[in-house]
């Protein structure tokens, strides 16, 4: 099936985007409303629409598909909205407050009036188990069955949907955790059970416990969802692999993603970052700021020198996740964000969103509160008859009715209120870009704003202007760019072993050979294509407590490993202490399974006669030309103000903007003065 279809599926807060590359390398985009109660319904509907657009049946399309890659926001939403599972935490007796103590640290040093966040597992569900390992792995207190049974009874009594097993020193020896996890599975057969040694087999209890508790919190929802999706796909005729994109931008087989749900916390936006890296490589520029504005939220990331940043230990919804992940800033505002009056009587937009249901008031599905999309419609920036290619009629009267009370409260006309909502959301977007760039010490003005997601095109010009950025770009795939990016991601995982010894005390060849064999075996289960293995180690001087990652490919002996560490330390921190004790803490092998080059061009849309539409911009009513975005021939040059429309997105060129359609598939806009 080497020539089959490849499909990327991105579930956003409002729409589910499906991109399919047909066997001839042409790409097709379909959108369906996201179905929040069960996202797999929307995914199947999107696949059905894709099949219809390609003139196939759903079964025919799936039978001809050799790979589906999927990004999901189930974990992210559960964390942000605090709607995860009821978790019981089994933990070492005498140490049940680890996740709430947060190592004594509180963010925002000079904000002493910040109330503490409620812990993900309340104290009465952090259940002590009598057991205790020492630092060398020996048992100071053997695992006490009676206390374990009592804890499990309490968990069952409380109706726990997930159990997190978090014991001290499980990084050294997992046997107590394994026994407790097995007992938990037997006692609570319906619960999602996870143990810290399996989620993050590394020393430092807060990082390990917090990551494990997050895994338990989102695990039941994510696992249930992924398994249901997998079943539905099988039932609909799909026989190939289903991959899930993870927070670090690589993909993993669905079973692995379900067991390590915490690794999907940034799955949704990861595809967009992967796509941006690909566009940078194709020549869009080495410095990009991604601006992925959907219906519910907006994701912003920095591509510097053509690469996306990775880090460990980020927080999502205030919870520490010590896994490798992309550096993405998420704002709780998008096209569906609701405008309202704040406590001080001032206009505010978001964080509450109308989401997919009921959606903006103008969708006519029962929404009665005004959203950013309603404001854009009232200003004439959206076409009520051709939104989503005509699939979604927009109801102007409903938008007016929703905006009217807010306008009255502000003492404005409906159109003035709509303009206010637009200006406010533009400023919030610009602030988000500042966090991702300026606050990280990078001047955004030298970068190109890469606008995608259904809603970004109408706001990109204003956001770029606010920041003094001179260029923005909108890819033809704008509305489905994240889904497209997923097709570009490789399989990726890491195997690691903590050794805690001097390089000379370690049989390096045997250690790395064993890790590589393990990596090969795991990869073989889901991939038979080309494979790259890279060696590295986390190392430190004897008295330090933080390790630095040191790439070790090509280092054959202990002396070379030692030299690589000193060199890396000098490069990072300006000095090395070559006489001092060196410790190799954790050896790692990263396995990348290459899934093959994917390009894909959208099918050109039939050209359309340019139209005109009255809009209200900056308090002035004027008539703008409206052009068909996805039918623009390469090389076309345009001057703002103008509107460009495709079935899935609308772009506003403001006064002075000059745009050119690039043959590589994006519109590049020089922002006017």
């Amino acid at each position: 099936m080497s020539g089959g279809w490849r499909i990327g599926v991105d579930v956003g807060g409002t729409f589910t985007d499906v991109i399919g590359l047909d066997p001839d390398g042409r790409s097709h985009l379909a959108k369906a409303p996201t179905t929040p109660e069960d996202q797999s319904e929307g995914v199947l509907e999107g696949l059905a629409r894709l099949a219809a657009a390609a003139g196939l049946t759903l079964a025919g399309l799936l039978a001809a598909t050799r790979r589906i890659v999927h990004g999901t926001t189930v974990a992210t939403n559960a964390l942000l909205e605090r709607k995860g599972a009821r978790v019981a935490m089994l933990t070492t007796e005498g140490h049940r407050d680890v996740i709430e103590m947060r190592e004594g640290l509180k963010p925002a040093r000079y904000d002493l009036r910040m109330p503490p966040p409620p812990p993900l597992v309340p104290r009465h569900l952090r259940l002590p188990v009598r057991e205790r390992l020492r630092a060398d792995g020996s048992a100071e207190v053997p695992l006490d069955r009676a206390s374990l049974d009592a804890a499990l009874a309490a968990a069952r009594e409380a109706g726990a949907e997930a159990v997190a097993v978090c014991f001290l020193h499980a990084w050294r020896d997992p046997t107590h955790e394994q026994a407790a996890a097995a007992a938990a599975r037997a006692a609570l057969p319906a619960a999602f059970v996870t143990a810290s040694h399996a989620v993050l087999p590394e020393i430092k209890e807060f990082e390990r416990f917090s990551t494990t508790v997050v895994n338990a919190y989102v695990g039941p929802l994510v696992a249930r969802y992924l398994m249901r999706l997998d079943e539905r796909l099988r039932a609909a005729g799909y026989a190939g692999p289903l991959f899930i994109i993870l927070s670090h931008g690589g993909v993993a087989p669905v079973e692995e993603a379900a067991a390590r749900a915490v690794a999907t916390a940034l799955s949704g936006p990861a595809g967009g970052v992967a796509a941006a890296v690909a566009l940078a490589r194709e020549g869009l520029g080495q410095e990009l700021v991604t601006f992925d504005m959907g219906g519910t939220s907006t994701d912003i990331a920095l591509i510097a020198g053509g690469e996306a940043r990775l880090g460990r230990g980020r927080e999502v919804g205030g919870e520490r996740i010590a896994l490798e992940s992309l550096d993405i800033v998420t704002l709780g505002a998008g096209g569906g964000s609701i405008a309202h009056l704040g406590p001080a009587g001032t206009l505010q937009v978001g964080p509450e969103s109308a989401g997919a249901r009921p959606g903006p008031a103008c969708y006519g599905r029962g929404g009665t509160r005004p959203t950013v999309t309603d404001a854009n419609l009232l200003l004439g920036l959206l076409d009520p008859d051709h939104f989503l290619g005509g699939a979604q009629k927009l109801d102007r009267a409903a938008a007016e009715a929703a905006m009217a009370p807010l306008a009255a409260a502000l003492g404005l006309t409906i159109e003035q209120a709509a303009e206010g909502v637009r200006r406010l959301v533009n400023a919030r977007m610009a602030d988000g870009v500042r966090v991702a760039t300026v606050r990280r010490g990078v001047d955004p003005r030298a970068a190109t704003l890469l606008a995608f997601g259904g809603a970004a095109g109408l706001h990109a010009s204003a956001v770029a202007r606010d920041l003094g950025m001179r260029r923005f770009a909108v890819p033809l795939f704008a509305a489905g760019l994240s889904a497209w990016g997923m097709l570009l991601s490789d399989l990726r995982f890491e195997v690691a072993r903590s050794v805690n010894a001097a390089p000379e005390e370690v049989d390096l060849d045997a250690l790395f050979a064993a890790l590589e064999a393990e990596a090969r075996a795991r990869m073989a289960a889901c991939h038979d294509g080309p494979l790259t293995l890279t060696r590295s180690a986390d190392m430190r001087y004897g008295e330090q407590v933080f390790e630095i990652p040191v790439p070790l490919d090509g280092c054959r002996d202990a002396a070379a490993v030692r030299a690589a560490f000193h060199a890396r330390h000098r490069a990072l921190f300006t000095y090395a202490l070559e006489e001092d004790e060196v410790v190799l803490v954790t050896a790692r092998v990263a396995a990348i399974g290459h899934l093959g080059e994917v390009a894909g061009r959208p099918l050109p849309a039939p050209p359309l006669a340019p139209g005109r539409r009255p809009v209200l911009l900056g308090g002035h009513r004027r008539e703008l030309p409206v052009l068909r975005f996805d039918a623009l021939p390469a090389g076309t040059e345009l001057a703002g103000p103008a509107l460009l429309e495709s079935a899935t997105t609308t772009i506003l060129l403001e006064e002075g903007d000059r745009a050119r359609m690039d043959p590589r598939g994006w519109l590049l806009v020089e922002v006017g003065p």
């Binding site: 509180k106 000079y110 002493l112 009036r113 503490p116 010490g441 003005r445 001092d580």
Partner: protein
């Protein structure tokens, strides 16, 4: 200056100090730095004005400019490649354990534009007792080695003779050398990043931006002050004792708020003490600035500009401003915390919604012994069992978040890591129920720690702290939190209470420390507490 450039430079300066702090954390050798983060970094102007600082230890930060001033006063000629070091509280330092590296930064045209500053708490600086805190000291020479500003390095290289001299004056030379290298490394990293910024914006452009940033912070602080009612407000706070028999030592603050200015007068505070609770001058100024900063909005940049509306008077020879030669080592904790407490108590009348319940007092224990597994000596400092944070108008206090002087910035570090590296066994480490002060909003809980010491032969504990008699202050009608209670559980079943200031307490192998740390102060009358919050306190065991 266009607002985008200004914002970029402002944030770039913050990114630089954050990067310096991250480098310190990752490279330093001693537990107090790499696990507990007891260090601060800053960028100062050529004259020593604080330009940018990262969110590290609040009580360090208002004092760093004095270090630069002391270097400027001592050295007429400052050249590229110079590295300066000091710790003397009577010449630019706050207390002896805090070593400060000061590195000049030059523009391409040779003009000196900035100083890159790193202050870190060194585990042992000599003196009569291990671990830097000598509760028996009555003069500074018993507290450790005094380092007035010295040129530790020149021409880009450190002077090995001076390094050897410093290492000869500590019980743990390997850690001190590693920590000093980390400090110099972090300071150089900051200098390199500043030079990139100078190259991009030019000297004039960068200095103009810095001036504008300070002015903006000043205007912001004055706007907030202007919203409080004018008046004269008084508050006082008491130290338990000085360790030499004097109890209830008073710190008194008279705060005069007028328009956009605040004057703090501490001159009615008690006379200086025999023991180490006295403050040096820079530390006193820093404590007043810290209290002021806590009452402003978190968004106000904490730089020299933000402190311009603030003026201070105090009396030399008082506990807040000791005469040269007095013992002062505890001052970054005590009497710093009591200076803050007195000011917050005073100003709760002017801005009750901003004033917060008292944060815990520091009660440290340093244990010296021999590790049977590694066959060498160790010194371990207690950072676990943090006291509770104070409640505020916005909600309950943070459990186990610490003291005023660090306000959630001191990390206690991984227990697993501590057990790997030290002969210690943490049998129990959980919240201490009932310890938070009652109030409409409850103070944060302190902790209970049961710690078995497994050293080879007897280990020796020194204590240094306060707050076993006085709890964290309740504010705006809230109650005080429970004070500390520390003891040693002996093999014979007896319990030996620990005083907050004593040296040379032996702990036999296998005996345990039992630590109950203080809760934070409450905010608002307890009668106004929401019944749902009372029920939740019981369900979760915060209140038993």
């Amino acid at each position: 200056m266009d607002p985008i450039t200004l914002a970029v430079i402002d944030n770039r300066l913050r990114a630089i100090v954050e990067e310096m702090g991250e480098a310190m954390l990752r490279t330093s050798y001693s537990q107090i730095l790499n696990s507990s983060r007891d260090f601060s970094v800053a960028l100062c102007s050529a004259e020593g004005a604080l330009v940018a600082q990262a969110d590290h230890i609040p009580v360090h930060v208002g004092a760093l400019g004095f270090a630069v001033e002391a270097v400027l006063a001592r050295f007429a000629e400052i050249r590229p490649g110079d590295v300066f070091l000091l710790n003397d509280p009577y010449h630019g330092g706050s207390h002896l354990p805090d070593l400060t590296i000061v590195l000049p930064v030059f523009a391409e045209d040779g003009a000196r534009c900035f100083f890159s500053v790193v202050r870190a708490h060194i585990t042992d600086v000599g003196g009569a007792t291990h671990g830097g805190y000598n509760p028996e000291a009555t003069e500074i020479w018993q507290e450790g080695i005094r380092i007035p500003p010295i040129r530790l390095g020149e021409g880009g290289a450190l002077r090995e003779d001076l390094l050897a001299m410093l290492c000869a004056n500590t019980r743990i030379p390997r850690d001190v050398r590693g920590d000093l290298m980390a400090m110099v490394g972090a300071a150089r990293l900051g200098a390199a990043r500043l030079q990139e910024l100078l190259a991009r914006h030019g000297r004039q452009g960068l200095l103009a931006a810095v001036a504008a940033i300070l002015d903006l912070a000043e205007a912001h602080a004055r706007r907030i002050l202007a919203s409080w009612p004018d008046g004269v407000y008084r508050g006082e706070a008491f130290l338990d004792d000085d360790g030499h028999g004097r109890e209830d030592i008073a710190i008194r603050a008279t705060c005069t708020k007028q328009g956009g200015s605040l004057h703090v007068d501490l001159s009615e505070s008690d006379p200086q003490c025999a023991g180490f609770v006295n403050s040096s001058y820079p530390n006193m100024v820093s404590a007043v600035r810290m209290a002021f900063a806590f009452l402003l909005d978190p968004e106000v940049s904490k730089n020299e500009g933000a402190f311009r509306p603030l003026s201070i008077t105090a009396r030399p020879g008082s506990v807040v401003w000791a005469e040269e030669g007095r013992a002062v080592t505890l001052c970054t904790s005590h009497c710093s915390n009591e200076i803050v407490e007195a000011i917050i108590r005073a100003l709760q009348q002017a801005c009750p919604e901003r004033a917060m319940g008292g944060w815990g007092r520091r009660f440290r224990v340093a244990i010296k012994g021999r590790d049977p597994r590694r066959g060498r000596g160790f010194v371990w400092h207690l950072f676990h069992a943090r006291p509770g944070g104070g409640a505020s108008s916005a909600g309950d206090g943070w459990n186990a978040a610490g003291e005023w002087h660090s306000a959630g910035g001191l990390k206690f570090g991984s227990i697993e890591m501590a057990e790997v590296r030290f002969p210690l066994f943490f049998a129990r480490h959980e919240f201490r129920p009932n310890s938070g002060g009652a109030g409409k909003h409850r103070g944060g809980l302190g902790c209970e720690l049961l710690l078995r010491v497994e050293a080879e032969g007897p280990a020796i504990a020194n204590t240094a702290g306060d707050g076993a008699r006085h709890g964290s202050a309740g504010i705006a009608g809230g109650a005080d939190g429970l004070p500390h209670r520390y003891s040693i559980l002996r093999h014979d079943g007896s319990e030996r209470l620990l005083r907050t200031k004593e040296a040379g307490v032996a702990i036999a192998p296998g005996e345990s420390l039992h630590i109950l740390s203080a809760g934070g102060g409450g905010w608002g009358p307890p009668s106004e507490r929401d019944p749902a919050a009372i029920a939740a306190d019981r369900r979760e065991g915060y209140v038993a």
